[in-house]
């Protein structure tokens, strides 16, 4: 793990406005994540875990506080700049897989490369990743023909295809049975160990959390320990 945190969050607040009501989702979050860490985040539903990811991933701007990702402060960035961040710096893995239903697994991965502008470069390292994920033979199927575990592994492949600095996995095993959960968690751990991939993972499951180097707990929009 090299110098300085790749994610540095200070005094982060996020308030959603729903109609005329302010919903505080994050109420002052401080967090440092060194590069190469596999960090687990746990906490009750509604405690702001997903919102934290959405802010770090630039899907929504912070209300106040600073969020420095890979040396850049998101609070100072435009919408478009935060969108660009997701091309190569931050990648998401979702509970519901969120693959494009009309495209094959291969094309789902190709779309991510295309959007990031990487589609013309050959990538031998990625072939290694595909082998690691064990989905090489399933790439020409559409998501509807894949099991949940396979879909999630395709989603992980899509997330890492552009070699992002950070992978944000929001309950990646929330929709999977024990066996598939284990496979996905092992893939994440392999990516972390072999490639030094920085991973933040939200989970409800203590066993899943144990795959990380460290676990932080969230409650009511704050990190409590």
């Amino acid at each position: 793990m090299n110098s300085g945190p790749i994610i540095q969050v200070r005094g982060l607040r996020k308030i959603y406005r729903v109609g005329k009501v302010d919903v505080p989702a994050l109420r002052g979050v401080d967090l440092d994540v060194p590069a190469g860490e596999f960090l687990s985040i746990v906490g009750p539903s509604g405690s702001g875990k997903s919102t934290l990811f959405h802010v770090i991933g630039g899907l929504t701007p912070p209300t106040s506080g600073s969020v420095v990702v890979d040396g850049r402060d998101l609070a100072a960035m435009t919408d478009a700049a935060r969108t660009r961040l997701r091309k190569r710096t931050v990648a998401f893995v979702f509970q519901k897989f969120n693959l494009l239903p009309n495209l094959t697994a291969r094309d789902n991965i190709a779309v991510a490369r295309y959007i990031a502008g990487m589609d013309s470069k050959p990538d031998p390292a990625f072939d290694e990743i595909l082998r690691l994920l064990g989905i090489g033979s399933r790439l020409d199927h559409k998501p509807s023909a894949l099991s949940g575990g396979e879909q999630q592994r395709v989603a992980i492949a899509r997330a890492v295809v552009n070699h992002p600095a950070i992978v944000l996995a929001d309950e990646p095993t929330g929709n999977l049975d024990t066996e598939n959960s284990k496979a996905v968690l092992e893939v994440l751990r392999d990516l972390n160990q072999r490639l030094g991939q920085t991973i933040l993972m939200i989970t409800h499951n203590p066993e899943a959390a144990a795959y990380g180097h460290r676990t932080v707990h969230m409650r009511d929009g704050r990190i409590v320990e």
Partner: protein
Amino acid sequence: MTGKLVLENLKHRPMRSLLSILLIGVPVTLILCLVGLSHGMIADSQRRARGSGADIVVRGSNARSVTSQSGAALPEKFLDYFAKRPHVAVVMGVVSHSAELPLIVNGVDLDQFNRMSGGLHYLQGGPFRNSDDIILDRYYAEQTKKRVGDSIEVMNRTWRVCGIVEGGKLSHILVPLKVLQNLDSANGNLSQIYIKLDDPANTQAVIGQLKQSLPGYPIWSMEELATQLQETVNSQGLHAFILVIMGIGVVIGFAVVCLSMYMAVLQRTREIGILKSLGGSKGFILRIILTEALLLGAGGTALGILMSFGARYVIETFQPASFQMEIVFSWWLRALAITLVAAILGALYPGLTAARHDPIEALAYE
């Protein structure tokens, strides 16, 4: 990659895609048919006018335009006068009478007509023998399914088909001159006089002399008649009409694309959210929606072109004498441009809506 995304989206909802293409295609067909009919019918008139063999045509002084066929206003004695002019080889008097639109019946003297046009080529039967005899060209015979010996209703009168001729000379329907003059109570009068010269090179010189001696009478060379036909048809509102249909085409194309793409965008909020979560910019999302709309527009144009061939087939099969339709290639590009503009306009609002979608909401677990 954009292309693949768009194609897969179109394939994913084939019914919606095909319906959109069909709806865009219909006004394209309409435009192409209108243009094709105007081209085809003018060309047919010109061909028949040239087929008469004449070099010059003189019309009654009250005939303001070439397409006004009513009124036989030329005294028959002009024939002798013209015949004695220098360079004039053959003269022919014709009476015109509208039949079912847009057909015109010509009353002709077959002797004059044969000398002028080089003779009719009879596929069946032969020249007039009785006052109720009628000669059809093969197109009108085909259209009405008549053969020699059959009776036929034309101008509210029953005629007997005496001959069927190869087309392309003067009119699709010929009757004896005297009979039509009688019918029109136009004894001794003619609608047009056709003049054939010893040498077509003398046409302008003879026209110049005729205009001097007959001021007020429209006198045209056959070439001028051809351009006159075109101009008259255009000035008689056909241009405006085509413009109106084009406008309707744009509106329909716009509305179809707008509705279709808006529906697609609503159905695809999640997909759009996914693309944004992968770093897809607003411009990227907009581009995808516009590309899809452009494909619908191009598909609609292609279908419209195909359907215009179908329309031409139907016209050639069932109404070969009344209507002629040409496939006007230069209008394919125009039709394409029209639909693409409509498609882009129609996709703009849905596209911008999609581009502005909040990805968090789109990705929220339902």
